[in-house]
Structure formats: C-alpha cells, structure tokens
C-alpha cells in the first residue's frame, strides 16, 4: 500500500469544513495537513473503535484502517454507534466503512475483515502511522504491543468495562510498553469481558473519543501525550483520575535494551485464552451430572417433581427467568456457610431432584459441584442444564429473551 501523498495546501472546501479546528493556533493549517497525510489503524470496530473512528474521520484523517473479524449483533448497538439496526449481520468492518464514508467521503477507509494474529499483524500494521488498541481481549493486546514495538509505532490503548474506562499511550517517545507494565498476562479466569461483566455504552464512548484525541495529538505533534500516565475514568462516581506510571523498563522482554522477544509469538498460548470476547464453555462435570434442555423439557412435561435452581444474580433473574425456577445466586452459594438452609425452603421431602440453570451453562456447573460437596448426605440428585437459558431459547422456546 502506497503512503498517502503529502499535501502542501488545503483546498477551499477543506478550509470551510475544518475551519473550527484550523483557527486553533496549536492546530492550524500545518496540523490539518498532517492529519490529511496520516493513517490510523483501529483494531476493533466495537465500543471503543466506533467513536474513535468517527472523530478521526470527522477531523479529516487521511486514511483509516479498521480491523474486526466479527459481524454486527443487536446487543452491540447500545455502544457501537457506527452500526445500525439495518446492518445487523453485516461484518463490522463494512458497516463501519459505510458510516465513516457517509460522514466524510474524503477519508480513505481500508476494512480488514480478519482475526489479527502473529502471521498477519506486522504486514497490516506496517502501513499505518498510529495504532489504536480498541480490542476486547488480552491476547490481542499483547499481540498489538509486540507488533508496535517491533515496528516502532505508537500504540494508543483504551479499555472499558461496566462503568469504568482506562486510557494510556504505549511505545511512544521513549515511554513504556504494555509489557513494561504487565510482564505476565493475568490468569484467564480473572479476565471479565463486556458480555459477562456488562458495560454502559457511554463509557467506551468517552474512552474511544479520547483515543482519537491522543492519536490526533501524536499525528500533529502537539500537547502532552499520555506517556507513562494512566487515565482512569469512573463513570459511576463521575471522576477522572491521573496515575503516574513507571518509565520504560530497560529489562523489558520486548522493548528493553536487550530484548528476548525478537519476533511475534503465539499469544493464545501465552495468555491461555483465545482472542475474542465470546463466552468460554466450561466442562467441569461428567455427562451423568448433566442434562440437555430437551431432556429437561421432557421431565417438565411429564410433571416429574423437582427443584429448578437459577443461580444467576438477581439483576439478571429480573430480566427473564423460567416461571417455576427459584433464584439463589452462585455468589450466595459460594459465601454461604450453610447451603442446606438456603435450599430448605424450596426443597421438599418428596422432591430429591435438583436442576441448576444459569445464563450459558458455566456457573450452573460450578454450582452443581458446590451442592454435591455440601449436601452429599441428603441423597439429592443434582444436575446442570447444559447450555443454560441461552440454549433453552435456541432449542426449546424461541420466545425466551436472550441478553
């Protein structure tokens, strides 16, 4: 891919369009010309990537690359604001491209519909000036960091979950890289994604917008970059907080003076998790401790006495539940010293069968484990309903809501 031609002058319509930022002395014609000949790669066309792309396009970036392997889902629309109802099912990169072009037809947009990995990353990233990490998983964050260090590209990193967001700039003007801060990845079971943890759409909106701003400051070389600084945004308490981070670590395994890592590695293996925000399916139980939705439905239709325990949090139980279910959250089971008394009310003498259900069939397995340990002397039979309410909605009752 050829670099964008360096523009020496602004056209009349550009002066009209970008006038409000042109008259800023820090920005000026020079800043606008730099934007016009600059390219930014946005990795992730989700909650962070959408607003970042929108502001960069609006401000007159020359070339935007967008990487995403996924397609638009209805549950994305509350935060991924380039996508529309009409484009559910369309790839996120082409949906983003369509929105960006209708906002600013002068921007060149390159959609990269793929999973970024060790094989393709360097070849894609090398063509861009600034990289935005708007991804949603740890493996991609390490992959982007290492690629940016190897190619000497600044990396503007954003993340968001629930009501909180974080922002910093890595590998720029001698500052630290992601590995300087996090030499080891977090254990996979400690990582929460947006589909499990939830997120308020405005929060990635704020962080993604700030990522665009940081990219614009790098391109035009103005202001103070978020180097060795971490911005914490807490939307719940309405606070922004600045943290002073460490400098580059001379012993860092990739950006150090004598790096051990000289090429990209296998990031799935390094992080113990796959680069996506989809649910992991656990397999904690043996087959005889589990029952399929169809078999459970058959028991239900026969009128076999049993207790159906829904172990989701009350906030989720309130959204939707099976009418005959009883709600005891897994967190309560885990904290309880006396699980038996929790079960006493819903459990009667003549029903010794307990079925456990949750959103996707992971927590229910943990709960079955817990119950079997603590009520083993009761001769209860405890099973988990495979795939949980998600599977129930897919295979038994299409009208049962998914969230």
């Amino acid at each position: 891919m050829a670099a964008l031609a360096e523009s020496k002058v602004l056209e009349r319509e550009e002066i009209g369009r970008y006038g409000r930022q042109l008259i800023l002395p820090e920005w000026g014609v020079q800043g606008q010309l730099k934007m016009k000949s600059a390219s930014v790669l946005i990795v992730g066309a989700g909650g962070l990537g959408c607003p970042a792309a929108q502001y960069l396009a609006a401000a007159g970036i020359g070339h935007l690359g967008v990487v995403d392997y996924d397609s638009v889902e209805v549950s994305n629309l509350h935060r991924q604001i380039l996508h529309t109802e009409g484009r559910v099912g369309v790839t996120k990169v082409s949906s983003a491209q369509e929105s960006i072009q209708s906002l600013n037809s002068k921007v060149k947009v390159t959609p990269h519909h793929l999973v970024l990995n060790s094989t393709n990353a360097l070849n894609i990233i090398k063509d861009y000036d600034v990289i935005l990490d708007a991804s949603d998983n740890v493996a991609t964050r390490y992959l982007l960091n290492d690629s940016c260090v190897l190619l000497k590209k600044p990396l503007v990193s954003g993340s968001a979950l629930r009501f909180e967001g974080q922002l910093t700039v890595y590998n720029y003007k001698g500052g630290p890289c992601y590995r300087c801060l996090f030499p080891c990845p977090p254990p996979p079971h400690c990582v929460t994604n947006c589909s499990e943890g939830g997120v308020v759409g405005v929060v990635p909106g704020v962080i993604g917008s700030l990522q665009a701003l940081e990219a614009m400051k790098i391109i035009t070389d103005i202001g103070d970059s978020m180097i060795s600084k971490l911005l914490l945004f807490d939307g719940f308490s309405g606070t922004f907080r600045h943290i002073k981070l460490r400098e580059r670590n001379p012993e860092c395994s990739i950006c150090g003076d004598d790096p051990i890592i000289k090429e990209l590695i296998d990031y799935e293996q390094f992080c113990g998790s796959k680069p996506n925000d989809k649910e992991r399916q656990k397999e904690l139980l043996t087959e005889n401790q589990r029952i399929s939705c169809a078999d459970y439905k058959a028991l239900l239709d026969e009128g076999v006495p049993h207790l159906l325990l829904d172990v989701r949090e009350p906030v989720e139980y309130d959204i939707c539940h099976l009418p005959h279910s009883h709600n005891i959250p897994l967190s309560q089971l885990q904290k309880s010293k006396d699980i038996l008394s929790l079960l006493n009310t819903p459990l009667s003498d003549d029903n010794k069968r307990v079925f456990v259900i949750c959103r996707r069939g992971n927590d229910s397995q943990v709960a079955v484990h817990l119950l079997e340990e603590s009520v083993s002397n009761l001769q209860l039979s405890v099973s988990d309903i495979k795939g949980g309410l998600t599977e129930w909605s897919h295979s038994i009752d299409k009208n049962f809501p998914l969230y």
């Binding site: 967001g165 030499p183 981070l245 460490r246």
Partner: protein
Amino acid sequence: MPLSVEIEFSGGAELLFNKIKKHKIELPDKMGVANTWTIRDLIGWIKENLLCERPELFVQGESVRPGILVMINNIDWDLVGGLDYVINNNDTILFISTLHGG
C-alpha cells in the same frame, strides 16, 4: 501509633471487597518487630482482614496477581519500591484491576 491508610479498589477489584471501592483502615502497631508496614505486609493484611471471596483473584504468593497495578498516592508502586515500600500515615493505596473490554 496505628497507621491510618485509605485503601481503594478499581477496575472490578472492588467486586472482591463487597463492591466497596474505598476503605479507611487502621493498621495496628506491630509487636516485637520493626514497627513498619510495607506493601507486602499490607497485601497479607488485606487478604486476612478485608478480602471477602476468591483470594486467588487478588493475591498470588506475597504479591498481587498479574494484571493488578498498585498505586501509592497516585504513583506507580514500581517507582517507590514496590513490595518493600514503607507505608506512611495517611497514604492512599489504590489497587487497579486492568480492564480488557472494549
């Protein structure tokens, strides 16, 4: 003299502490040993006295698990001695669980 310290959790680390983000605590005098509290000591104290559930999501060995940053008065603990930093009266110590979602 006991030390008064403000402990804060963010990025989801507070979920392990009854969802409470700010805790004002008093660290008692130590008997018989050097009367200083390091971050290492504090992490042990938090594990015993403040942590409500699943300690493996917060501690690993004598430190915090990978993915948690520790800030002492808004400065990266790496800049002030890490685990060996000696806590002063009225310090604010923030444990940030880094986010990965987007």
